[in-house]
């Protein structure tokens, strides 16, 4: 079993691991020559299934295993993220699977040159006669530093992962491009905070208090609201984009689109967001949603698919994708019942 790769895009990889880490501590990582998959299945809350084209993070990848050259690992995301952060200013970074004391680990080897602001100080202030006997005339070398970070991992047998399946969902009623996630996150965080502050003395479990209602229509509107004893608050976004469905991607082509739930939803509601009709609504936990929104740091386009009172599926596309090897993170958020 061998895995070795150069890291092509440290920043993306770092942000990806940080985003995933907010949902769970461990990721199932599936490595192959074509793609790398990250899956987070927390005990409760949102699942993430991410499929990345190799180029989006790696270069010169080499994967070899007895199981069709696929390697499955369980990786602690905090450590991986921490290790990657130390590579942010690296001139090069390599990652490989290795064993030490019979324990598997991912070793990240980073070559850096020190930044100029940390150059040695003048020796004038030295206090105790331990001045350098030779001067700087030989220079300080190239100041190239090699940092090795070892991340403990677990190798997962093919049977272990065979039982893990990506969730399936019915055709969505509404699909819409979300507004900038930083805006959405800051508002939903406030809402959640309001709910927590208000009901400190109130009743119900925390999860029932922080229940956000998120709704969208096929006229470019997104609505987020929360209700507590002390207030009821809602924010409405308008002029968002409802992307057209691609007939080649829909079962039944043009006919399939005509029968698609979103086509019916287009007949209802209005673009100013004031109508009560035409909304597909889900109830989600505000704190879980805050963790999901953490993916905003990747800066990709996000399409939200609403299955009314059932589920919300987010597709997050990495920004640098050229369209051929698409990398997409899929978030599955279940709706609570009323």
């Amino acid at each position: 079993m061998r895995f070795k790769a150069s890291i092509q895009n440290i920043t993306t990889f770092t942000k990806l691991t940080a985003s995933l880490n907010s949902l769970g501590p461990l990721a199932w990582v599936k490595l192959s020559e074509e793609q790398v998959c990250f899956t987070i299945i927390p005990e409760q809350g949102t699942q993430v299934w991410a499929v990345l084209s190799i180029d989006s993070i790696f270069r010169d990848i080499f994967v070899q295993s007895a199981a069709n050259n696929v390697i499955n690992l369980e990786v602690p995301l905090t450590s991986l993220n921490r290790a990657l952060k130390s590579a942010l200013n690296a001139t090069s970074a390599q990652i490989r699977l290795t064993k030490k004391d019979n324990m598997p680990m991912l070793a990240l080897t980073i070559v850096t040159t020190a930044s100029s602001n940390a150059l040695p100080p003048a020796t004038a202030n030295n206090d105790d006669g331990f001045d350098a006997p030779f001067d700087d005339e030989f220079g300080r070398g190239n100041r190239e530093t090699i940092v090795t970070q070892e991340i403990p991992v677990r190798v997962l047998a093919p049977d272990t992962v065979a039982g893990l399946h990506e969730p399936q969902c019915r055709d969505p009623d509404v699909h819409i491009v979300l507004p900038p996630l930083m805006q959405l996150k800051s508002i939903s965080d406030r809402f959640t905070k309001l709910a927590l502050a208000d009901t400190k003395s109130g009743s119900g479990t925390i999860a029932s208090r922080t229940r956000l209602e998120l709704a969208a229509n096929m006229h470019g509107c997104l609505k987020m609201s929360i209700r507590t004893d002390a207030l009821s608050i809602s924010s409405v976004w308008t002029d968002l984009n409802n992307p057209e469905l691609d007939p080649s991607q829909v079962v039944g082509g043009e006919n399939g689109i005509a029968a698609h739930p979103s086509t019916r939803m287009k007949q209802l509601g209005s673009a100013d967001g004031r109508s009560d009709e035409g909304w597909a609504l889900v109830r989600i936990d505000g704190r879980d949603w805050g963790k999901v929104m953490s993916v905003g740091r990747l800066g990709g386009r996000v399409i939200a698919c609403f299955c009314h009172e059932h589920a919300l599926v987010l597709y997050v596309y990495l920004p640098q994708d050229d369209g051929d090897n698409e990398s997409v993170l899929t978030y599955y958020v279940s709706s609570y019942s009323a």
Partner: protein, 434 residues
């Protein structure tokens, strides 16, 4: 009654803050030793594996310095112990405002009011600010005797020196929860700083294991590097970080002196009348048993101590032990006599002691959050809004250790700490000694 008065510039007061922050990472209390020519803060950590001494030169560091100990003539001294947090609440950060804005301090005057009745003893700090604001603090202190660790540089054959700013870059690579640091002088012209944690190797726990980080540096990046190739020396990451961060506030070079594993190592740096020396216990066989909590006997090394007119720390009272500086005098004297200065067994006792010395400072590490990143992090809904009032954790009065202003604080408090550390500490050592 002792006469002790000194005056600090705002810059010097700010340096006092920085050094107290550093000492606070080693101990809750600092001991003060004032002599006619100099003023020293010392701190010993609870596992007695690290001893810090910061010496301030009477002429160079202070604007004005006057110390007339009540006894002892030219060698006399005034000693006491105070809570680090209490001093930090007075010597806050940002005391020095280069722009001299309203409320910036003009000077800081310190005096000691010593009374027969210990409850009336006060360490008085007066911050004279511009525009007529005067802030006066009266801190309680406790009279203790102060001890010093001895370190014999003449036997420390290995030494290196490096810009603290460069080392600070290295420590930023270290994983947040690691405990130990192995400094290894390779044969290939490289020196490796490796942070790691003792293995916890069962089942899924493996994945919780902290990162192992190795930073390989060309020895030519050091200002000086004279270390026998192949030498491993292991100290606490947390101590190392505290020292490097403080050295970096002075923008000075950090120098290390050591001989071999299980013998003490000393870091030294300083400038402008301020000299910092940290004497740390080491181990070397880092794949083997965890580090021990038995620094005391071997720290000073019998050879160094007994032959030690050469010792660099000429100011020290010659003891080969590192007892807690705040230990009541009676007790310390006794333990001082008890201790066998020439114990050779101590190093083996060190190996056997199952108690690990080093406690990771997870809290400290967690604080180092990336600002930009935190915006994307899930919100901490409990957190107060930032704008506002006394957000500095350093000033958080609620975390102060409390003691009653009754004069009995010393004994109660210290016997507590003895209860905590003494059993593992002493018992194991004494077994080895007798």
């Amino acid at each position: 009654m002792v006469v002790l008065n000194f005056t600090l510039t705002p810059q010097a007061a700010s340096k006092l803050h920085d050094l107290l922050v550093c000492l606070g990472k080693f101990s809750d209390t600092v001991a003060v030793e004032a002599r006619r020519e100099k003023f020293t803060f010392t701190a010993l950590n609870s596992s007695k594996s690290a001893y810090a001494a910061v010496t301030l030169d009477g002429k160079l560091f202070f604007t004005k310095y006057e110390c007339i100990p009540s006894s002892g003539g030219p060698d006399g001294r005034f000693t006491c112990s105070m809570y680090t947090k209490a001093l930090l609440s007075v010597f806050k950060g940002r005391l020095y405002d280069p722009l001299g804005r309203d409320g910036a301090i003009d000077r800081c005057e310190v005096s000691v009011q010593e009374r027969e009745n210990e409850t009336q003893c006060r360490f008085i700090v007066k911050m004279v600010c511009n525009q007529g604001v005067i802030k006066t603090y009266k801190l309680t202190y406790e009279a203790v005797d102060v001890m010093h660790a001895l370190f014999d540089r003449s036997v420390a054959k290995n030494y290196w020196s490096m810009s603290s700013g460069v080392i600070k870059e290295y420590i930023e690579y270290f994983g947040t929860k690691t405990e130990m640091l192995d400094i290894f002088a390779g044969e290939d012209g490289r020196c490796v700083f490796k942070s790691y944690t003792e293995k916890i190797s069962n089942g899924k726990e493996i994945l919780k294991h902290p990162l192992v980080t190795a930073v390989a540096v060309s020895t030519s990046d050091f200002e000086q590097f004279t270390v026998q190739a192949g030498t491993h020396i292991v100290i606490s990451v947390k101590d190392f970080k505290a020292i490097v961060v403080h050295a970096d506030t002075l923008k000075t070079s950090l120098k290390a002196y050591y001989s071999q594993p299980t013998r003490p190592l000393q870091f030294s740096y300083g400038c402008d009348g301020l000299l910092c020396e940290f004497t740390l216990m080491t181990s070397g066989d880092y794949t083997g048993a965890p580090l021990t909590s038995t620094p005391a006997p071997q720290t000073l090394g019998s050879r160094g101590a007994s032959r030690a007119p050469l010792t660099v720390t000429d100011r020290t009272s010659i003891r080969s032990d590192m007892p807690p500086p705040t230990e009541p005098a009676s007790r310390r004297d006794r333990s001082g006599r008890l201790r066998n200065p020439g114990s050779r067994q101590s190093s083996s006792a060190a190996q056997e002691d199952p108690e690990s010395l080093f406690i990771p400072d997870a809290q400290d590490a967690r604080r180092r959050e990336d600002d930009e990143e935190s915006a994307w992090a899930p919100l901490d809904y409990e957190k107060e809004e930032t704008l506002g009032w006394d957000a500095s954790a350093d000033h958080d009065a609620s975390v102060f250790p409390t003691f009653r202003d009754s004069g009995s604080m010393s004994t109660t408090n210290m016997s507590d700490s003895n209860e905590v550390f003494e059993p593992t500490q002493r018992v194991s050592q004494i077994k080895g000694l007798w």
